[in-house]
Every structure is written in structure tokens, then in C-alpha cells.
């Protein structure tokens, strides 16, 4: 690795972020969809909690958890379609001529897409959620500290998601047909980041395990901080640890793929 220059990666970030802001119609659609899913899930939890049996996780916490997940949904499920296209069309050859680390290049793009996509859908939702009837609206973090810890940890979470995404794209390069693997990795993320059901509702016996797996670092860890649980430094350390591990793995996979890459087309 030559001297580390950040500028190309920052500019990749900026370009992708600007591109994402162009999709306002899609953002509005996503907003409505995520609101609806949030309402349905919360109605379901109301019914479950009303069915009897004491629970250690209070309903109000589940409600807030569900909303935070829905707000960040776009970060989980967006994928850069361009890479697949470039691999199939041979356009990847031009990318490889650039004097940058390709993994870092696509990683910066992924972070940009996820961050901007999430803000465009999530930020308006915050306001909507505070006007919902009591029982359906999300709670503020208990302290300013918890809010700040959440914000910092969410950024680390986004980076973890982007690192997983980079691994996914390495697999794309290998198989050329991305749909199967992509769908599988995205589903794993949705379940084990806590989108389908809050990880706090998994059985007590697996709680110890489930909090430490990589996908939990994406969204579950920041949300637990928001709710006022968990130690900030410990959580952030865990997130950064997984980020390094996933980054190392992804970068290695990219290197290997690039050594044997076949340029399609002519």
C-alpha cells in the first residue's frame, strides 16, 4: 500500500451521496412503506402483550425499537446496483485502472448511499412518530448522553453494514449473478440486525450470543444504547472490532477476485 490519500475516497463518497439525493420519489415511497410496516408491527406487539404473560422487555421499549429499525431500514437494504452492472458489462476494467484501492472506493460509496438514503427516509419519520397516538409513538432517549451515544454508534453500525456489503460485492464478482447470494445476505442482516423482530425479544438463553454476532453491531447495538442500556465504550469497541474483521475479510476477498478477474464484453 502506497501513501494513504483520502481525497479520492471522499470524492467517491460525495458523488454517491449526491446521486442518492436525486431519488426523492423513491424516498417518499420508502417513507410511507416503512411507516406502514412500523404500525403493523407495533399493532402486533400490542396484541401479543395483551395476550397475557409477563415480559421482562416493556412494550414501550419494543415500540421505540421497532421505529428506530424502520427508520434505518434503508441502510440495511440498499445495494449498489452499479457494481453488478459494471462487472457484467466489462466497465469494471475502467475502475481497476484508477490508482485507488478498489475495496476502499466501493466501501466509501456504500457508506454514502446508506447514510443519505437513511437520512432521507428516517429524518421525516422522526416528526411523524411524535404525533402518533400514545402507545404507538417512540420515546426520546432517557438522557442526552444516550442520544449522543446512539448517534456515534449508529455511524459505526453503518460502516459495519457497508463492510458486509463489500463482502457481498466480492461474491457478486465471482458468480456474476448476484440475486441469490444478495438476497440471502440481506435476509440474514434483516433478521440478525433486529429488523424482523427486536433482538431483545429472542429467548434469554441466546441473548448473550446474539448481541455479539456481527449483524447485531449494525443496528441492534446502537438501539440498545438509545434505550439507555449497554456500556457505550464496550459497545463501540465491539462494533469497531467487527468492522476491522469484516473489512479485512472483504478486502482480502476483493484482492483475490481482482487477481483472477475476467473482463466481460469487448
Amino acid at each position: 500500500m502506497k501513501t494513504l490519500r483520502l481525497r479520492p475516497y471522499l470524492s467517491a463518497f460525495r458523488v454517491r451521496a449526491l446521486l442518492e439525493t436525486q431519488y426523492r420519489g423513491a424516498a417518499l415511497g420508502g417513507l410511507v412503506t416503512q411507516m406502514f410496516f412500523g404500525l403493523v408491527y407495533i399493532a402486533l406487539y400490542h396484541a401479543l402483550y395483551a395476550s397475557g404473560g409477563a415480559q421482562e422487555t416493556p412494550l414501550a421499549e419494543v415500540v421505540t425499537y421497532v421505529w428506530l429499525q424502520q427508520m434505518a431500514f434503508r441502510a440495511l437494504l440498499s445495494a449498489d446496483g452499479e457494481l453488478n452492472e459494471r462487472v457484467l458489462s466489462g466497465g469494471i476494467a475502467y475502475d481497476l485502472c484508477r490508482p485507488v484501492d478498489p475495496w476502499g472506493w466501493w466501501f466509501s460509496r456504500a457508506v454514502a448511499q446508506k447514510l443519505v438514503g437513511m437520512l432521507m427516509r428516517g429524518a421525516p419519520m422522526v416528526f411523524l412518530q411524535f404525533v402518533l397516538p400514545v402507545g404507538y409513538r417512540m420515546a426520546l432517549p432517557p438522557t442526552w448522553g444516550a442520544g449522543a451515544a446512539f448517534a456515534v454508534s449508529l455511524m459505526a453500525g453503518l460502516a459495519v453494514i457497508a463492510a458486509v456489503d463489500a463482502i457481498r460485492s466480492a461474491v457478486v464478482m465471482r458468480t456474476l449473478d448476484a440475486r441469490g447470494v444478495s438476497a440471502m445476505i440481506q435476509l440474514l442482516m434483516m433478521i440478525f440486525a433486529g429488523n424482523v423482530i427486536p433482538l431483545t425479544l429472542f429467548p434469554a438463553q441466546v441473548q448473550g450470543l446474539i448481541r455479539f454476532q456481527p449483524f447485531a453491531q449494525a443496528l441492534d447495538a446502537p438501539i440498545r444504547l438509545y434505550l439507555g442500556g449497554g456500556d457505550f465504550l464496550l459497545t463501540l469497541g465491539m462494533q469497531l472490532g467487527w468492522l476491522l474483521a469484516l473489512g479485512w475479510l472483504g478486502r482480502g476477498m476483493w484482492r483475490r477476485q481482482l487477481l483472477r478477474v475476467t473482463i466481460q464484453g469487448g
Partner: protein, 265 residues
């Protein structure tokens, strides 16, 4: 008959082209099963913690879930052309369908039959098996008939809902994610019986997108807990709502076809 033969031929062609990427095809079928399996896992986790959902026991909830997953896999198998219809319009591919001497909607179905989606049925069936093992259910031909009617009705309803999105794509090239609210949102919401929801959602899923009539009413009769105390005949006739819904949406779609302007080559 001709239509069926046409569908069979289309199916064979698609399978053969899929087999050109055999590993990817198997992977995708498997991933469909795994994905639906993930949702089964989620429901199991919830049932493990809460054991009941309103008046419904765990196995009963699983039964609703199983029916919905089977139906949805079936819909994605036959209805892929409808649910991805916007790309026909966007690419101008729809023009090629217009000039062929076959029924238009049948062509839309046939050109994108997607056998990979059937992977989800495996999981739906295992959920049903789990549900049946968990509770004593007296079976009779009448109930089997109800179940078939319910699956057909719900399938038609879902394809009808996807047709709304398809119709909108004649007028706007932007994909409108909002329609997902009723299709994918309907699947997620209505894999649980409708009576657990607050009134607005209940009304939505009874009168606007009648999942309650197509699926919950007949299935609840099969489970010997008919919603709203409905009689057998009412439960058997209710899925017709799906057929009516589908019929209306086909009309609306053809109305959209008349306003279709090609995007050019």
C-alpha cells in the same frame, strides 16, 4: 386449453434458460426457502415468548402463517411478470407482447414465470405440518374445500394488488414503492389473523384489500374458530371477494393498456 399449453411451453423454456446458470438457479431456489425459513424462525421466536396471540394458540397462528407463505410463494411464481411489470414498460419490451396473437395478460404471466420462488412453499408446508402436529384438528372434505378456496381467493387477491402497481406504471415511469404497502405489507400483516389488529387496519384488510374474507375467514373455520361466527357457506363464499377483486383489477389494467404509449426503441 391452449392457454395452458402455452404456459407449459413457457415454463419449459424458462427452466431451460435457468439451467444455463445451474448453480445460481439452485442457490436462488434455496435462498427463497431460507428466506421464508427466516420468517418462520421469527414467528417461532415470538410464539416461544408469548405463547398466545389474542384468542389464537401458537399452532393456530402457525397455520395462518403457513397458508400465507404457500400462497405468497405461488403468487411470486405465477405473478412475477405482473409484480415486475414496470420494467416491461420502461424497456419497451411491452411492445413485443402487443404484436403477438395471444392474450396479453397471459403473456405477461408466461414470460416471467419464476420457478425459483417455489422454494418458499417448502417452508409454508412445513409450517402447516408443524401447526397440524401441534393441535388436534378434525379433517373432512368440507374443510379441505375451504382451504383450497381460500388459497385460490388469496392468490387472486394478491395478483390483483400487484396489478394496481402494473397499471400505474403505464402512467408514471417512476416505480412507486407505496403499492408495496398492500402487497408485501399485506403479506406481513395478514400472516396473522385480522382480529388482533385495531379497527383501522381491520377495516383496511376486510374492505379495501380483503385478506380477511379471502384467507382469515375460511382458515378460521378450518380451525373451528370461525371469525364473526360465520356459517360454513359464508366461509366458503368469502374467498370469492378475491376473484371479484382480481376481475376488477384486470379491467382496470386493460383500461391502462389503452392509454399505453410506447417508450420507443
Amino acid at each position: 386449453m391452449k392457454t395452458l399449453r402455452y404456459m407449459g411451453r413457457a415454463m419449459g423454456l424458462l427452466l431451460r434458460s435457468a439451467m444455463q446458470y445451474r448453480a445460481s438457479f439452485l442457490m436462488q431456489t434455496l435462498s427463497q426457502a431460507v428466506m421464508t425459513g427466516g420468517e418462520l424462525l421469527a414467528v417461532e421466536v415470538l410464539l416461544g415468548r408469548f405463547t398466545r396471540l389474542g384468542q389464537w394458540s401458537g399452532p393456530e397462528v402457525l397455520f395462518f402463517f403457513g397458508v400465507m407463505q404457500c400462497v405468497f410463494a405461488l403468487v411470486e411464481f405465477v405473478g412475477r411478470g405482473v409484480s415486475t411489470f414496470a420494467t416491461y414498460v420502461g424497456s419497451g419490451e411491452f411492445d413485443t407482447l402487443l404484436v403477438r396473437p395471444r392474450n396479453l395478460l397471459v403473456q405477461v404471466f408466461c414470460t416471467r414465470l419464476d420457478p425459483r420462488r417455489l422454494g418458499g412453499i417448502l417452508v409454508g408446508l412445513s409450517a402447516l405440518a408443524l401447526a397440524a402436529a401441534g393441535q388436534p384438528l378434525a379433517w373432512c372434505w368440507g374443510k379441505a374445500l375451504l382451504l383450497v378456496a381460500s388459497c385460490l381467493g388469496t392468490t387472486l387477491l394478491l395478483v390483483g394488488l400487484f396489478l394496481i402497481e402494473a397499471t400505474v406504471s403505464f402512467f408514471s415511469v417512476k416505480s412507486i414503492e407505496m403499492v408495496n404497502v398492500l402487497t408485501y405489507g399485506g403479506r406481513t400483516a395478514c400472516q396473522y389473523p385480522v382480529d388482533i389488529y385495531p379497527t383501522p387496519l381491520r377495516l383496511l384488510f376486510t374492505f379495501v384489500a380483503p385478506f380477511a374474507l379471502c384467507m382469515h375467514l375460511p382458515v378460521s373455520w378450518v380451525l373451528d374458530k370461525p371469525l364473526w361466527g360465520a356459517s360454513y357457506w359464508a366461509a366458503l363464499m368469502a374467498p370469492l371477494a378475491g376473484a371479484v377483486f382480481f376481475g376488477i383489477m384486470v379491467r382496470v389494467w386493460y383500461w391502462g393498456v389503452r392509454h399505453y404509449r410506447s417508450t420507443g426503441s
